[in-house]
């Protein structure tokens, strides 16, 4: 490569320096700062903070709720992507365009929409309320909020793979006598699995950290409907920095694990080639 182009692009240390500085300042340094702060009082102390009944409950609660959301989203997300790619029906284009709405709408607004729709004063809320089921300010509301804010992840990561997937593989399987279900489970699913897992991982990490919609929808009652991020916020507000740190570090660690998992999937799906 020409020395000048090399200097400009390939080996430009100024550009690289700027990029590294920015990442360092905004990502690496804050992560190091919070981790150092958390470990300042020693590991036993940190462990004590994490295992405080309220903290521990909020973490467990968050993971369980996120897992429930995950199962629902994987199924409905894949089905939606499938329908949007493979079938023709009225309103298809509009619906396809509206899938991204949850990404565009502020999470606080999302929370409020759900309260309006399913709150105790709403039609749906009243109906379920009569049967003793509380949606808003309880678990169903939280799950609903999480499903809403993470809905596009699975759809949008599966869709392009389905579009590009060659139909001849399926047709080959059909000529070899495979039934529709066999074709789906043996041919289609393995092909789109990496993209499903990618979407799932993204929605899982989003669900673990979601705050805006949940703080409005959930009752935020400790040991009952309080998720981890709401717990941390409460601790910060009441200046219990140390007890907030423990939970925050666990959430941060989970984010890193999700990132590693995503990298792993990417490498794995690259192996199939293009």
């Amino acid at each position: 490569m020409n020395s000048s182009l090399k200097r400009f692009v390939k080996g430009n240390l100024t550009l690289r320096g700027i990029a590294l500085f920015y990442i360092g300042l905004l990502i690496i340094l804050p992560v190091i700062a919070i981790t150092t702060e958390a470990f300042k009082g020693g590991i036993p102390n940190l462990w004590k903070q994490i295992t405080l009944p309220q903290a521990l409950f909020s973490l467990k609660f968050t993971f369980i709720i996120a897992l429930i959301m995950l199962v629902i989203n994987i199924i409905t997300g894949t089905a939606t992507a499938w329908v949007l790619v493979r079938y023709d029906f009225p309103l298809k284009k509009t619906i396809n365009a509206l899938i991204d709405i949850p990404f565009a709408i502020p999470t606080v607004v999302t929370g409020m929409m759900l309260v309006v729709l399913c709150g105790p004063r709403s039609l749906i809320g009243e109906f379920f309320g009569k049967h003793g089921i509380e949606i808003i300010y309880n678990k169903p509301g939280i799950i609903l909020a999480l499903i809403f804010v993470t809905f596009p992840f699975v759809v949008r990561s599966v869709q392009p793979v389905l579009i590009e997937m060659e139909r001849d593989m399926e047709e080959a399987a059909q000529t070899l006598g495979a039934s529709k279900f066999k074709v789906f489970f043996h041919i289609v699913l393995p092909t789109i699995l990496p993209s499903i897992l990618t979407g799932a991982a993204l929605s899982f990490s989003r669900a673990l950290g979601e705050f805006g919609s949940i703080v409005i929808v959930a009752g935020n009652i400790p040991m009952k409907t309080q998720v981890a991020s709401v717990y941390i916020y409460g601790e910060i507000e009441s200046a219990n920095i140390q007890s907030g740190l423990g939970t925050a570090v666990v959430l941060l660690l989970s984010s890193f694990i999700v990132l590693i998992f995503l990298n792993f999937i990417q490498r794995w799906s690259n192996k199939y080639g293009k």
Binding site: F8, V108, M113, G209, S229
Partner: protein, 279 residues
Amino acid sequence: MENKTNCVEVVRKQKQAGKWVLISFVLLWFFVLIIFPLIGIVRETFKNAISVITSSLSSTASTHAFWLTILITFVAVVINTIFGTIMAIVFAKQNFKGKLFLESLIDLPFAVSPIVAGFMFVILFGPGGWIGSWFYSMNIKIIYALPGMIIATLFVTLPFVAKEIIPVLREFGIEQDEAALILGASQWQIFWKVTLPSIRWGLAYGVTLTIARSIGEFGAVLVVSGSIINKTQTATLRIHDQFTDLNYAGAFSAALILALISFIILNLIQYAQKRKKRI
């Protein structure tokens, strides 16, 4: 013969039935999850008289909040567009040790809870923090002030521009750069005349996503701002405040405006995405 056609007919109908069951399931799900809530918020807003809506929107606190949101969004977009493009060029075209690790680190803001993000900045830039203490000694306040809110917004929107451009640049390769070089173009000419035009739709897509996220960001900004009325209260914080104060008219009218903005941005996103695919 007749039997046979009947059989075919039955099989066809069964296939059709399966298809329509799936379609109606998805449609139903979609309406319950997305359309109903949207309708709900519109209905709730207009339950109140228009006069109530306008008065609550034009209150100084609300106006201030909207202007603050616009200011933060603008600053975040400008800064992250510049740094995002630089990061993209570095990651797409340079090779160095630890590149893979750093590139996946860019995704961290997507994966981390906004509350944890805000928390990190409170610790780093707070009065007792490594960087914050230095600024405080010079009487510059970052946390519970505008700089902190901008930094938090920069963090949560950091990946958008970079992540959109990196694949475009990679696919674009180096050949066109070289062609321009041979024709005598300088480095800046190559960037403005060749590189930038070819990444423009990817860039536009990244920018719209950045705008959407900046406007909507709540958790991270809440933690670093303290949500002080007329000072550090953005639109989303204001909505939340009004909602918890049971001022539904104000909350919902402001929410509706944000939802409308989101809708416009959504359309921009889709336009940019379509153009991105074309070129």
